[in-house]
Amino acid sequence: MRTFFNFFRDAYHNIKRNTLMSTASIASVVAALIIMGIILILAINVNYVVKQVEESLEMKIYLSDNIADERVSEIGEFIKATPHVATVEYLSKEKALEEFASWFGENEDKLLQGYAQNGNPLPRSYVVKVDDAAYLENIYDTVMAQEGVTDVVYGKEYVDVLLRFNRAINMVSFVIVVILSLVSLFTIYNTIKLTIYARRDDVEIMKYVGASNAYIQMPFIIEGSVLGLIGAGAAILLIRGAYTMILGMMQVNAALPLSTTLAPFGMVIYQIAIYFLIYGFVIGAAGSLISVSKFLRTSR
């Protein structure tokens, strides 16, 4: 009985013997995974940054001077109950004036004086933060419909651009991911095809001896999956290295706010690692299987 051990021994020997072929296969897995890894990390980072920007967005809800304090708290409760509202902060007329006056350097006193005589022109307001910028427009509509709310301000143009930018980034990176994935898959498939082509004599000879298809395919599949796993391992190490390097460069260049947004990936890399290993294994095994099966079908 030919045991599995034999197949692995053969795979090991073949990989050692066909250094060139093996390196090529591993290289194309590494290449594919590095490309995907970079895109993945970039996409996650961009989303992360966009999320942070979104969360820092403020919406100001100005209240009429002509409503009672009860109504003000009522509106406050209503806002708090609105979906996707993260935090709500109340700004009294006095606080608003203080904040406002502080914008004017040497003319601050003059300004405050003017208001002291004419009454504070600044309205009461709620400052709202949301958890998703996409809902700002909805919230605007609901809150605006409340009696006693005079105006709601949230930098509509800015948010629109941001949302569109975000959507564009997502779309572009989706297209790029698809294209590059196809490119890498094609490269891997090609490489495996080349390596099997280089060993077509082996396949032919095995057929002459009456070897079953499974017998012929098995060593290629095992070899392919081993090479895929090795490639995945190499890619993981390389990406980790590059990531660390970029983090290092960023910290040297400047205390960037971005460097902190990259940090969490020290953890994420381990999740990526698992997917990479699965990917390497599957692509190596499947690529070999497809190539060698195709070859078996077309040859006699």
Binding site: M1, R2, T3, N6, H13, N14, R17, N18, R199, D201, D202, E204, I205, M206, K207, Y208, V209, G210, A211, S212, N213, Y215, R300
Partner: protein, 226 residues
């Protein structure tokens, strides 16, 4: 056992007949020499038996079964009961001599102890003792040919097909190999062997089929008459 019924074969891109209307019967246990000039169709004849390809016309019966109707798995089973020595040896360049011979037994799922014992035995018989761990590139032409012979005979096949098995061997070694084949034949293996070696054909008094330009030009007992 092997029956050619009006078999013709033409290759793509070559309008000439490699074989034309061959009508032949080789009995179980026979030892047949196939002779004839270069390009006569000897290798084509052997490859038809092996079902390397099907005839363009007519049919080939192995044990009364038309080889054309065989399914993939049946072809595989058939080949496991055949031994083949190719004109160009066809050794696995990436495997050692031992592995080259052993894998023909592995296909039959024999256990590795039996394989090991038997392979070393056969290598000794063909005069390659001590070369088990060599790779084909590191061997002389005749040595490679003997690896191919070892692989062909290791499973004690029902049919042994040899295409010039002594083309790269000196007369003495050739004679030894021929004696070995004769022995195998005595134990029931049908042997069909294409050869140019007059000495060999003359020395062993067997049935001789003479091919010339795709036609059977003779079919008689003993002597290289071409």
């Amino acid at each position: 056992m092997i029956k050619f019924e009006n078999v013709s074969k033409t290759y793509d891109g070559n309008e000439l007949f490699a074989l034309k209307n061959i009508q032949l019967h080789i009995e179980k246990g026979e030892f047949v020499f196939l002779v004839g000039p270069s390009g006569a169709g000897k290798s084509t004849f052997l490859r038809l038996i092996l079902k390397d390809f099907d005839p363009s016309d007519g049919k080939i019966l192995l044990n009364e079964i038309n080889t054309k109707t065989l399914k993939k798995a049946e072809v595989q089973r058939l080949r496991r009961r055949m031994g083949v020595v190719f004109q160009d040896f066809k050794l696995l360049e990436g495997k050692t001599v031992f592995e080259n011979v052993a894998f023909a037994m592995e296909v039959l799922r024999r256990d590795s102890k039996t394989i090991r014992k038997r392979v070393l035995q056969v290598l000794e018989i063909v005069g390659l003792d001590g070369m088990a761990e060599r790779y084909p590139v590191a061997m002389s032409g005749g040595e490679r040919q003997r690896v191919a012979i070892a692989r062909a005979i290791i499973n004690g096949p029902d049919i042994l097909i040899c295409d010039e098995p002594t083309g790269n061997l000196d007369p003495r070694t050739s004679f030894g190999i021929m004696k070995l084949l004769e022995n195998i034949n005595k134990f029931g293996t049908t042997i069909v062997m294409a050869t140019h070696d007059k000495q060999v054909v003359d020395a062993f008094n067997k049935r001789v089929i003479i091919l010339d330009r795709g036609l059977v030009k003779g079919d008689r007992q003993g002597g290289y008459f071409y």
